[in-house]
Symmetry: C2
Subunit: 161 residues, 2 copies
DNA sequence: AATCTTATTGCGAGTATTCGCAATAGAGAG
DNA sequence: CTCTCTATTGCGAATACTCGCAATAAGATT
């Protein structure tokens, strides 16, 4: 990938060391289209070399998040996914029914950003903002299916699809 | 605690079974002032009985979150904290420097709520919204220099921001 | 009160992620 | 190019949480 190089340089300039592991992880992340798990990055990098450890993947991904190259998203299912932040900041809308992650326009958060700064002196990191909820599809299907009738002990623990 | 009782009844009416474990967990959660971890609830309940298992704590807390009695907040440090939702919905502002959790007014999210529904057909679950960032104190101290604020951050990683 | 159904619990094993520490290897200085 | 300093890696153990399954017990029914 082309502009990985630029980012790798930027890492070095900031005083971080550029190791082959880091390069490969950055490239693997940049190659992946959407959101990937640490395990997927691991598998990807493992194709190229055996000299890589899962802990290094996690540490590097954390570093990338801290430095702003990537964003991390903790899904409720017990794992996290990462994505490059190259295409600019965006919000993550996580559907708690189907698990899909929708990227929403970052500017939607502008009002809340300003309010938080004004009223709480809090400087939010909105690149890391993820919002749990129901996507349009799941909202539609759950409304069509059963309209809030006598739901006894059946539907409660069911989640996902 | 007083209105635990009401909630326990509500659970039963919704078709869930009310077990001593659940009662004790609910009471322990309601007793705790702010945000507590599953482990803290476990310790609390354990004082009263040995008949409790950590997995049950997690399952019950999840149930409470699903039914709206509690809210869950995944902290980046690898654990989650829970709080009752009795005092109404609110946003969680999580400071990534000192780890503090500030409860902010729920209405701040109204604009984004509306925009998400209009533009994406997405129905956000804003009781579960947590926003990562820097609190006023940490923002001030990182600008001013060094203060008593920073607690867990290590060496270099915090300078970069 | 005895019975029945099945939701819930406890347990132990499994998963995703983090941590501590010794060994390795970047990057600047000589 | 070599040396030095220390950031980074790999490893295995620890942590926080989840899951599958058999045993238990809530709540409805009789």
């Amino acid at each position: 990938m082309s502009h990985c190089h630029i980012y790798i340089q930027s890492l070095r300039q900031r005083g971080y060391r550029v190791t082959p592991q880091r390069e490969m992880i950055i490239e693997a992340l940049a190659d992946s289209a959407g959101h990937v798990t640490a395990e997927e990055i691991f598998a990807q990098v493992r194709k190229r070399t055996r000299a890589i450890n899962l802990a290094t993947i996690y540490r590097t991904l954390d570093l990338l998040v801290e430095t702003g190259f990537a964003s991390r998203l903790d899904l409720r299912d017990g794992y996290a996914v990462y994505a490059t932040a190259q295409h600019g900041p965006h919000l993550h809308l996580v559907c708690k029914a189907c698990g899909r992650v929708i990227d929403a326009d970052h500017s939607l958060a502008t009002p809340i950003d300003e309010l938080l700064r004004e009223q709480y002196g809090f400087s939010p990191d909105l690149q890391h903002l993820s919002i749990l909820g129901l996507c349009a599809d799941c909202l539609g299907s759950s409304a069509a299916g059963s309209s809030a009738a006598g739901s006894s002990a059946e539907g409660k623990s069911e989640e996902g699809e």
